[in-house]
């Protein structure tokens, strides 16, 4: 390990880290935004569930590198455009989260839904104020998996020339320089663990009722 290499290339490393962050987080946000209505649909209608869940399963099965390569053909983008990575990872995130959202909404006790309706909540408000918040824990679990796996998959994008920490891997490989590869691995893991911890905290903040009974007054 050549430690001196790290401060010498601080700007490069930080730049790649920033790129990596955006390339992993953007798909998660996009994926979440798309998955919530799709999951709600799958929960509402058996027919939708029968189509959406297996379709999601198939999409998730396709390996990432394959999706990075096939998407340019479908989307008409250039093969090295980072958009391919963002779209591919968004597809994965949607595929993963649709099932999460559907099951999470299905797990909301029907008594609670009935009570909310009885209180006068209209369906829209009821979804936003009652059903969705109760679905948050399971959703956060799905988000954690999606985020950690996206962070790892973005580095595969380096094989098609997309930026991010993966560049440290390909460059370290070309120059026979394990130090660079190790830095990339460590940063990638730190990023993943940090994002995971952040999501756990956000999940707890968003569900104060789950902490009631642990000794704190409501």
């Amino acid at each position: 390990m050549i430690w001196a290499w790290i401060p010498r290339n601080g700007a490069l490393i930080l730049g790649l880290l920033g790129q990596h962050l955006v390339l992993s987080l953007l798909p998660v946000i996009v994926g979440l935004v798309l998955a919530v209505p799709l999951g709600w649909l799958a929960n509402r209608s058996r027919a939708a569930r029968a189509i959406l869940i297996p379709a999601a399963g198939v999409l998730y099965t396709v390996p990432s590198l394959v999706l990075f390569i096939v998407l340019p053909v479908i989307l008409g983008t250039k093969i090295l455009d980072p958009i391919n990575v963002v779209v591919a990872l968004a597809v994965y995130t949607v595929a993963l989260l649709v099932r999460s959202v559907a099951d999470a909404l299905a797990a909301v006790p029907s008594l609670v839904v009935a009570a909310a309706t009885a209180m006068g909540f209209r369906p829209g408000r009821r979804f936003v104020a009652v059903e969705f918040p109760l679905a948050v824990p399971v959703l956060v679990a799905g988000l954690r998996v999606a985020t950690v796996s996206n962070i790892s998959l973005v580095s595969v994008g380096a094989l098609i020339g997309v930026g991010g920490l993966g560049q440290l891997f390909t460059q370290g490989f070309n120059n026979n320089f394990p130090t660079e590869v190790v830095v990339g691995i460590v940063l990638s893991m730190v990023l993943a663990l940090f994002a995971d911890a952040l999501l756990v905290t956000l999940g707890r903040v968003a569900t104060p009722w789950s902490r009631v009974g642990a000794g704190r007054p409501a």
Binding site: P63, V66, V70, V138, V148, S152, V156
Partner: protein, 249 residues
């Protein structure tokens, strides 16, 4: 870009660069890693799930291993160890073990306690309880973990082509090198089809092997009953529990 022409060209189906050879290479690397992974992860996961001790550690290690980037790990191993079966197998193992471990542990730990009690009540020994009661009941989650691991391994074997290994990934990497996008797309299709076929086969195995009594159980994901307080409760943080939901859908 003429995929049809590529697939109907007999030259692409014969010889060391042909589809059958590449497919067998791919299955060899993936299969080897999966078998070794099962031999390592299932006993550990089962033991920890059965005794209930060390669950936190197992889940923690599985999560930590899951955050390792596959490409980086493969490259590091090749740089340090060389181009040998060991580098690619270790890299694949590191990716296969977390889902297998988490799935086995979650499966065994989540077996209905009353069932285990009943087994103890009839006088079964601990080892018999594990083998004849807990493991069969744990099959849905265990096989879910196996499916997740299989997909991970197939996907990463494709990447191994950058380190000169064979397998279907060769079409992706070589095609990219001489800018033959048809070959790249053909490789992509082949790998996707392989992944889907393997997933289908394992789903079929799951249907065959899992006891009919278990299949009737509602396996949809529920919010964890005791979230933050119980560190040993396997929260559904891994893909295997999501896969489990696919058993009945």
């Amino acid at each position: 870009m003429n995929l049809g022409a590529w697939f109907t060209d007999p030259a692409n189906w014969t010889g060391p660069g042909g589809v059958p050879t590449r497919l067998l290479e791919h299955l060899y690397y993936s299969g080897l890693a999966l078998v070794i992974g099962i031999l390592i992860a299932v006993p550990i996961g089962a033991a920890v799930g059965h005794t209930g001790r060390g669950g936190f550690l197992v889940v923690g290690i599985a999560n930590w291993l899951r955050s390792l980037p596959d490409l980086g790990l493969l490259i590091l191993l090749v740089l340090l160890v060389g181009i040998s079966l060991i580098s690619v197998t270790v890299a694949l193992l590191v990716l296969a073990i977390p889902p297998l471990l988490a799935g086995t542990y979650a499966g065994v730990a989540n077996v209905d306690r009353s069932v285990v009690d009943a087994a103890r009540g009839v006088g079964m020994r601990e080892r018999d309880i594990l083998l004849r009661v807990e493991l069969p009941n744990a099959l849905p989650l265990l096989l879910g973990g196996l499916r997740a691991a299989a997909l991970q391994v197939i996907a990463t074997t494709a990447i191994a082509a950058i380190a000169s290994f064979g397998g279907l990934g060769r079409y992706l990497i070589d095609g990219q090198a001489y800018r033959d996008y048809t070959e790249m797309a053909a490789g992509a299709v082949l790998i996707a089809v392989l992944a889907l076929v393997v997933e289908g086969v394992l789903a079929g195995v799951q249907r065959l092997v899992v006891s009919p009594g278990l299949r009737a159980v509602d396996t949809r994901i529920r919010p964890p009953a005791e979230p933050a307080n119980d560190p040993t409760s396997p929260a559904p943080t891994d893909r295997s529990s999501h896969e489990m939901a696919g058993v009945n859908s």
